[in-house]
């Protein structure tokens, strides 16, 4: 059998073979027969090193506690009392036999976390800035009291300026915990006594990821009356379109539900980077035949997986989505009526509801919803809150009908059992043209009229108009059409016989919203846009709504992102994909689901002791308090659909002040007087505050602080930050923070607003304040810009050194934190630190505060009857005599809260009486907690002493975990079931069966320690997980006919508030990125210029998420820096780089009016021309040299951005456009920004 011609295989020479054969005899190992290699059997002494290295003493379950949506359970390895490394847990309960599982969740950033434990950037001891500590010690020695000492320093302009100007410039010195806490407490006590508690603020984001750590500080601030700053809107992660369309903050599918989709578009969502542990679901679903589309301006990590890649010009995604909507509406609604889509639209959307048309010039404009109040008395459905009951036309009779489920049925007696989506046999006409004409009133009624619609597709984004017609009917005195008819007009989908200007076809580029029209804007080929839109809808039609869009920060961080998102939501809604497993929107931008929501809310807001808390919209807070409003160069009407309208002459600051005084948005500090003083003054005047305050406001003797933010009495005085790096990360307009809030060095290049463009109503003070804040203190385990600039830094425990709870949208489990080691050095948990502060505060309060009455001004709140405050969204301002100031209607509600400042510590450590007395209300559903509180007392044991005596103890973090789990429906089957029974009474629909399978289940902390624990279907959320289903938002709404929390009770395409009309956004519309050249005089993108410092090019400046630092760890991590470029970097196209002579890794400088960034260039052909990326959260601490431009440290990624508030984000007091914490508020968007870039000297100085 062997071939004789070929020599047998062998090694190179015979001599070597001889040598190697000999080796057989003197080596313990075995040489292979062919002499190639050695084998060894048994005897493992040589392996000892690696065996020893692997050996460990224990493995502890924990996770990472801020921001990251992963909520990944980790194994933390411990050897000899030292944390060695971490690896992912793989013990998630299975997602089902026919689909992948969640193991092993994690990412490289989480895997690098343990580096912090012993790293040289760890904060080991409390620190105070030396210059401040010296002053404090001197003053305290002289005055003998901490509060007097603090007042002595901060009341002295010279000393005060001295320590503030030293912020951020080194000079931190060690202090003891006792002294540091004493100073913090003194600052709080003095500020409350002198200025009022609402001059104090706390900031800590994203509670879902470590509920106790967040909640404990929030509880402290809530008890003393400080304001907790929002984060979801501030981070620009809140998709404002969600409250607008769904009446819901955000509710999205878990990643396991991506698997169910037949068609998946990743739109501005770079899943492998930003949702690393979830990305496999997308990757694997492709094998199931899912078609995957990536929409990304660059060749992002996710594009590799996509079947098709669309690369629109950044910020133009709305145009692409509108064009896809055009195709779907034309082909699936007009050319033929797709039964599934039409049925869905009738039941679950406002498309068939009637809109009144108002005469305007020779035509009409869309107006308000027709409501039951417009129908004759006696019409079925009329009775109470008629102005909030929207109306349809019955198709077969043409008669107006008031269907169940609108807001008017939600709160009154008569609405009980009728707040549901049961059409009770009525078939609403989608178009008024479909309805029989019986409803036509007397007189001639035209079949159709022209309506004037706004458009913003001009090159500079300025408003223009287009006239298109809609079919009409008359109902009573009103000419009406449906939302559907208007939407077709808005999308340019013509029908025979309608007046106006319509596109001639898909290839008509002159008329919005055709595929060709979008091509001119986005650069995406028209045919491709049409094809993807068509496929998306066809897949939904065939699969009953299993078409999904994952939408991310790439589309959500723009000034007009709500408009972009409404165009997306139109696609998912008209295709019947919302509320379907595998379909709908999947917004993954900072969305963090506190699954055990009710218990958490009670704890964090201290609702067991006092209600309500102060919650503040953070974007607005910093817009005023960092004086960014002083740099606005335009008036608000420049953003509106009809310039010169109601906002003429008003700046954004004026808009904000109006929103505050009308009670739409929270505003802290509220008045130009201490909130304690106002109550005293009212009592002195012998009036209750409800009488006294409106009268004082009307007379002008009392003013809203927002109307004069630069008055010293209106400054924020104390800011506490934990679990966050405000100044190195989220601070849009970072340099303005340094200048005005902190009073230290900065690199602001902008000029203040010229006199003719200054606010109309808000006071302009000639000298801008510097150093408003008296105390900035931070708890952290690592050094950040925030700790560097803080007056006091406390050493915090890491995530591997404490007990806590975590949950997320992305998976259905509750996870636990457990300490692998005790906090080393002098670190303490956030829980302990805030208890320390509270104890010292309570002690100091005995002499300086005692018990006080505090006036809390509460905005009109979502999911309460406050949503009925503004019929038809018609705005009236008492300041201008358009109405009376009526608390809770035309201005904030006024609630007096009695605060025993000496009892704060006792309240912190025990569950208060209001749980049992008032229950807990989440999203309008009240849970009776009396029995559960009794059980909790048995579980945790009673606390002893003071007001805590006999109450359930909350003295340890684990006890708080039990509190949260016990008092939430998702983790307590009794509450879930009871909550559904409550909801049944309002909806008249069966619901309690959804939780019945788990009614006896109470998840305890020990369960979460054993393994990630699946939660229970609860009315706190909108998706059903009964029977092991994957979570998808709104499945309960669709399947159980539960209304959305909107005006119509349906998903809302049309918003009829005055301000929505004013800005031109009644309906989805394309709005381009802000034109910074027009608004601020920045250089237009693409322009190159030769200057003395070198050639510059103007580029779009984007700050997407960094592959090497998101959430579970940070940019300073050595492992992550070693895997990347090791310092600050800006990605740019090779084409742009060539224009300014930049090579890869060259030092560059970016300069615009807001500040300066020094970084290195990463040059790559995967970047589009004209756009650069400076990835998010690149702090100034790592290898950042001095800037040539400013001579100062080269800034953070947000040194080039600033706050830009969209007026409509400040709407309140009306249906779903009513305030709730992190539910509505102006976003801290930052993507419309531009900058100049140039190559700088490569010799850098530090």
């Amino acid at each position: 059998m062997t071939t004789q011609q070929t020599p047998p295989p062998g090694l190179d020479t015979g001599i070597v073979e001889g040598l190697l054969k000999a080796r057989r005899f003197f080596k313990p190992k075995e040489v292979s027969a062919d002499l190639r290699t050695l084998h060894q059997k048994g005897g493992r002494d040589a392996d000892t090193f690696y065996r020893d290295r692997w050996a460990h003493d224990k493995v502890v379950r924990s996770t990472h506690g801020v921001n990251c949506t992963g909520s990944c359970s980790w194994k933390v390895y411990v050897k000899d009392g030292i944390i060695t490394w971490e690896a992912q847990q793989t013990d998630y309960p299975s997602a089902g036999p026919d689909r992948p599982d969640y193991e092993p969740r994690g990412c490289p950033r989480g895997a690098a976390f343990s580096w912090y434990t012993y790293s040289p950037t760890r904060v080991r001891y409390p620190y105070v800035r030396g210059v401040l500590l010296e002053m404090y010690r001197e003053a305290k020695a002289r005055l003998g009291d901490p509060v007097l000492a603090w007042r002595d320093i901060t009341g002295d302009p010279e000393r005060s300026k001295r320590y503030k100007a030293a912020r951020g410039k080194g000079g931190l010195v060690r202090a003891g915990w006792g002294e540091a806490v004493e100073m913090i407490a003194a600052a709080h006590v003095a500020t409350i006594a002198d200025h009022g508690p609402d001059r104090i603020a706390g900031f800590s984001p994203i509670p879902a990821m470590s509920m106790v750590s967040h909640g404990v500080g929030s509880r402290f601030y809530s008890l003393i009356g400080g304001a907790m700053l929002s984060f979801y809107d501030w981070y620009a992660d809140l998709p404002v379109a969600s409250p607008q369309v769904f009446g819901d903050q955000t509710d999205v599918p878990e990643s396991g539900d991506w698997w169910d989709a037949g068609y998946l578009i990743m739109w501005g969502s770079n899943v492998p980077v930003t949702r690393t542990p979830d990305a496999h679901w997308m990757v694997e679903a492709r094998y199931r035949g899912q078609k995957v589309i990536a929409v990304a301006p660059d060749y992002a990590d996710n594009v590799k997986f996509a079947d098709e890649w669309l690369a629109p010009v950044p910020g133009t995604d709305g145009a692409l989505a509108m064009a896809m909507g055009h195709v779907v509406l034309k082909e699936f609604f007009v050319d033929r009526r797709t039964p599934y889509f039409v049925d869905y639209a009738r039941s679950y959307t406002d498309l068939p509801f009637l809109i009144r048309l108002e005469p305007d010039g020779e035509g009409y404009v869309p107006g308000k919803f027709l409501t039951a109040a417009d129908l004759p008395p006696g019409t079925p459905g009329r009775g109470e809150h008629d102005e909030f009951k929207t109306v349809v036309l019955e198709e077969s009779t043409g008669a107006p009908v008031v269907p169940n489920g609108s807001l008017g049925f939600r709160f009154g007696e008569a609405g009980a059992g009728k707040w549901n989506l049961d059409l009770e046999g009525v078939a609403p006409a989608l178009s008024v043209a479909d309805a029989a004409s019986a409803a036509a009133g007397p007189g001639a009624v035209p079949d159709a009229v022209p309506v004037t619609l706004p458009r913003f597709d001009t090159p500079d984004g300025a408003a223009a108009e287009i006239v298109r017609g809609v079919p009409v009917r008359r109902v009573g005195a009103h000419l009406v059409t449906t939302v559907f008819d208007l939407l077709l007009a808005q999308y340019g989908v013509g029908r025979d016989g309608l007046p106006g200007k319509w596109p001639t076809g898909y290839d008509d580029a002159t008329s919005p919203c055709t595929p060709a029209w979008q091509e001119a804007i986005t650069g995406v080929p028209a045919r491709k846009a049409a094809k993807i839109g068509r496929e998306f809808a066809a897949n939904a039609e065939e699969s009953n709504g299993r078409s999904m869009i994952l939408m991310g920060a790439g589309t959500n961080h723009w000034f007009h992102s709500d408009a972009i998102y409404r165009a997306f939501l139109t696609l998912t809604t008209i295709t019947g994909s919302q509320g379907r497993n595998g379909g709908g929107w999947a917004h993954y931008v900072g969305q963090e689901k506190v699954r055990p929501l009710t218990g958490f809310t009670q704890y964090a807001n201290a609702l067991d002791w006092s209600r309500p808390p102060r919650h503040m919209i953070q974007t607005a807070y910093w817009f005023l308090h960092t004086d960014q409003f002083r740099y606005d160069a335009f008036t608000a009407d420049e953003l509106s659909g009809r310039p010169g309208g109601r906002w003429a002459g008003m700046t954004t600051a004026d808009i904000l002040a109006q929103s505050a005084r009308l009670g739409w948005s929270p505003s802290y500090p509220t008045f130009d007087r201490s909130s304690l003083q106002v109550v005293d003054d009212a009592e002195a005047a012998g009036q209750d505050v409800g009488t006294y305050v409106p009268a004082q406001l009307k007379s002008g003797d009392l003013r809203f602080a927002a109307e004069d933010p630069d008055a010293p009495e209106n400054f924020p005085r104390v800011l506490g930050i934990w679990r966050s790096n405000l100044l190195g990360s989220s601070a849009k307009g970072d340099e303005y923070f340094l200048r005005h809030l902190l009073g230290t060095d900065h690199s602001v290049n902008a000029s203040e607003t010229p006199a003719d463009k200054r606010p109309r109503d808000v006071v302009w003070r000639d000298e801008a304040p510097a150093g408003k804040l008296d105390l900035l203190f931070t708890l952290d385990f690592r050094m950040t810009s925030t700790t560097i600039f803080s007056d006091i830094v406390l050493p915090a425990a890491t995530w591997y050194e404490k007990y806590d709870l975590s949950s997320t949208d992305m998976h259905p489990y509750v996870n636990s934190f457990n300490p692998a080691i005790a906090p080393p050095w002098q670190a303490r948990t956030d829980f302990e630190a805030f208890h320390n502060i509270a104890a010292e505060f309570s002690e100091q309060a005995r002499a300086h505060l005692g018990t006080r009455k505090d006036l809390v001004a509460v905005p009109l709140t979502h999911d309460t009857p406050d949503a009925l405050a503004t019929p038809s969204g018609i705005v009236k301002d008492w300041k201008f005599g358009e109405c009376e100031p009526i608390p809770g209607r035309t201005m904030p509600k006024l609630v007096v809260v009695e605060r025993d400042y000496t009892a704060i510590a006792d309240k912190m450590r025990s569950a208060g009486p209001l749980l049992a007395e008032l229950g807990a209300t989440t999203k309008g559903i009240t849970f009776d907690l009396a029995h559960e509180v009794d059980l909790l007392r048995d579980l945790n044991g009673p606390a002893r002493g003071g007001v805590a005596e006999g109450r359930p103890a909350l003295e340890q973090d684990r006890q708080v975990c039990e509190f949260i789990l016990s008092l939430s429906g998702t983790t307590n089957g009794h509450l879930a079931t009871a909550g559904f029974h409550t909801l049944e009474q309002r909806t008249g629909q069966p619901m309690a069966d959804l939780a019945a399978e788990h009614e006896g289940k109470r998840i305890r902390f020990a369960d979460t320690q054993a393994a990630p624990t699946p939660v229970i279907t609860s009315p706190e959320w909108s998706g059903s997980e009964s029977g092991g289903r994957r979570y998808s938002a709104f499945t309960i709404n669709v399947e159980r006919l539960k209304p959305w929390h909107t005006l119509s009770g349906r998903q809302s395409f049309y918003l009829d508030h005055d301000w929505m009309s004013e800005i031109g956004e009644n309906m989805p519309i394309y709005r381009p990125p802000l034109n910074m050249a027009v608004l601020f005089g920045e250089t237009p993108v693409g322009e190159r210029a030769d200057g003395t410092a070198g050639t510059t090019i103007a580029v779009r400046y984007l700050t997407p998420h960094n592959k090497w630092s998101i959430h579970s760890e940070y940019q300073d991590n050595l492992l992550m820096l070693s895997l990347s470029r090791g310092g600050p970097a800006v990605w740019m196209s090779n084409l742009d780089a060539a224009k300014i002579g930049v090579s890869d890794n060259d030092w560059i400088e970016c300069v615009n009016r807001n500040g300066v960034v020094v970084a290195r260039a990463i040059v790559s052909h995967r970047m589009p021309e004209g756009t650069v990326y400076m990835h998010h959260a690149q702090d100034r601490l790592i290898d950042v040299p001095l800037s040539e431009k400013s001579g100062k440290r080269g800034g953070i990624h947000n040194s080039l951005t600033r706050i830009m508030m969209k007026p409509t984000h400040l709407v309140g007091g009306y249906a779903q456009l009513s305030y709730a914490f992190n539910y509505i508020g102006p976003t801290g968007n930052q993507r419309d920004e531009v900058t100049l870039i140039r190559r700088r000297s490569q010799e850098v100085q530090y």
Partner: protein
């Protein structure tokens, strides 16, 4: 027949998201210590790119692996073993620190200890070799996601072989990730290079280890390994390499890199092979035959003859059972979707790869055809965004046929399963067109898509 057992890995590059979790967990567990700062037993490379250490695949320069003599005998490319022994004191042909990278840290403590000063404190980079300030200009992953592409990608040795196919322009951009560990070769060049006999292949599972007591630090192994997966610990003066996490494998746990892979793309299993066939397989004259030759070394664990021979060779019964349920066998020999990395190095590597499929339809879609039509999917393979030629240079010594066949099978799986997904009857013809049955496709789908923990390892 001499049956031996080999622990092996398959990585499905089609699922790799390039997150580098594997690198980090591996480094944390094994090499975050003095002397190995620059060492990544597991690294992930962006392709096209230069890799780590840079240009390691250019064997004209680095002289790794084996070559065939004119007589058809296998010889270490670096010069054969006699030369190796004769030049034991000579500086071996190996990458310098700058080809890996100069590891660094920062003076982080200055952030806390900075005295009152004019400017905000900053942590500057410091070399972990010299302790001095440094200018960071290269790292183990410097060209991640095509960073610096226009300057760096032209230096990719693999790209050099297919460069006429690739334009570095935005519209034509492609990239994928290549995670790499030690190949635990059947014919390890590192072991053959070691003058001290310190590198050995474990009898029972084929894991290649450096005997830390026997290593004398000659570094010939670094030269010999064409994958540059043996590293020199400059503190201990010994060679170190990926151990396939043997302390974990021995107790039934997957390797760290595999278990922590959030892309769920790594498979581990036992493969039975005929040790008597290895040398001949490694010596086939045509490089393009190396894939088939290596596949032929593997023994069907379900074959009763093999089972008997394995037991005769002292392989425990439960190991045979493990080989029978090994996903590696399925992926390499049943479904034939896994391919070896650089078979032309003739080391018979035992970490195999499923090449990346996507994105498939892009170019076809431009023609306006329906991308979901199975026929079009197959047609699209020839116009992939990632050039098949590039993949072939990585996995099949330049032969595009096996790569195309794998991609066709993956594409067929998507088409076939879409029918089921949408509630239609699946078309058997889709399976037949790629030489499979519907049952085969469903089996492959189970392994690749559901990828349950118990079936990955």
């Amino acid at each position: 027949m001499r049956v031996m057992a080999q622990m092996a890995m398959v990585m499905n590059l089609d699922k790799c998201i390039g997150c580098h979790t594997c690198s980090v967990t591996c480094k944390q567990a094994w090499t975050n210590r003095s002397g190995t700062e620059y060492v990544w037993f597991n690294n992930v490379e962006t392709r096209p790119g230069q890799g780590y250490p840079r240009t390691y695949q250019d064997q004209d320069t680095w002289q790794g692996g084996w070559t065939l003599t004119k007589r058809g005998r296998l010889k270490l490319k670096a010069g054969g073993r006699l030369k190796n022994l004769a030049t034991i004191f000579a500086s071996p042909k190996m990458p310098s620190m700058s080809d890996y990278y100069e590891p660094w840290t920062y003076d982080y403590e200055s952030l806390t200890t900075a005295p009152a000063q004019q400017h905000t404190p900053v942590a500057r980079p410091k070399s972990l070799l010299s302790g001095k300030d440094m200018n960071i200009s290269w790292s183990a992953n410097w060209d991640d996601n095509l960073a610096g592409s226009t300057e760096i990608v032209p230096g990719d040795p693999v790209l050099a072989k297919v460069s006429d196919k690739v334009k570095l322009e935005f519209e034509q951009t492609f990239m994928f990730y290549l995670p790499r560990i030690c190949e635990h070769c059947l014919n390890p060049a590192c072991a053959a290079s070691c003058p001290s006999g310190a590198i050995y292949k474990r009898e029972e599972d084929g894991i290649v280890l450096v005997d830390q007591d026997a290593c004398r630090g000659w570094r010939k192994c670094v030269t010999g390994c064409p994958y540059k997966k043996v590293y020199f610990n400059h503190r201990t003066g010994k060679a170190e390499k990926c151990t396939f996490c043997f302390p974990r494998i021995e107790v039934g746990l997957p390797t760290v890199c595999a278990e922590t892979c959030v892309g769920r793309l790594r498979y581990i299993g036992l493969v039975l092979y005929d040790a008597d066939l290895v040398l001949a397989a490694a010596s086939v004259p045509d490089e393009k035959d190396l894939l088939r030759a290596q596949r032929d070394c593997f023994l069907d664990p379900h074959d009763p003859t093999v089972v008997r021979a394995a037991e005769a060779a002292g392989i425990a019964h439960d190991w045979v059972l493990a080989a029978q349920r090994s996903p590696i066998w399925s992926l390499i020999n049943d479904y034939e979707v896994a391919l070896p990395l650089h078979p032309e190095y003739r080391t018979m590597p035992m970490v195999w790869y499923i090449p990346p499929l996507s994105p498939v339809v892009d170019v076809v879609a431009e023609t306006g055809e329906d991308a979901e039509d199975p026929g079009n999917l197959f047609a699209a393979i020839d116009t992939l965004r990632i050039p098949v030629e590039y993949l072939a240079e990585l996995f099949t010594a330049g032969d595009p046929v096996p790569v195309t066949n794998v991609l066709r099978r993956l594409a067929a799986m998507r088409s076939y399963m879409r029918e089921i997904n949408m509630g239609r009857e699946p078309e058997e013809s889709i399976a037949t067109a790629v030489g499979m049955t519907g049952a085969d496709i469903r089996g492959m789908y189970r392994l690749l898509a559901l990828a349950k923990y118990d079936e990955r390892y």
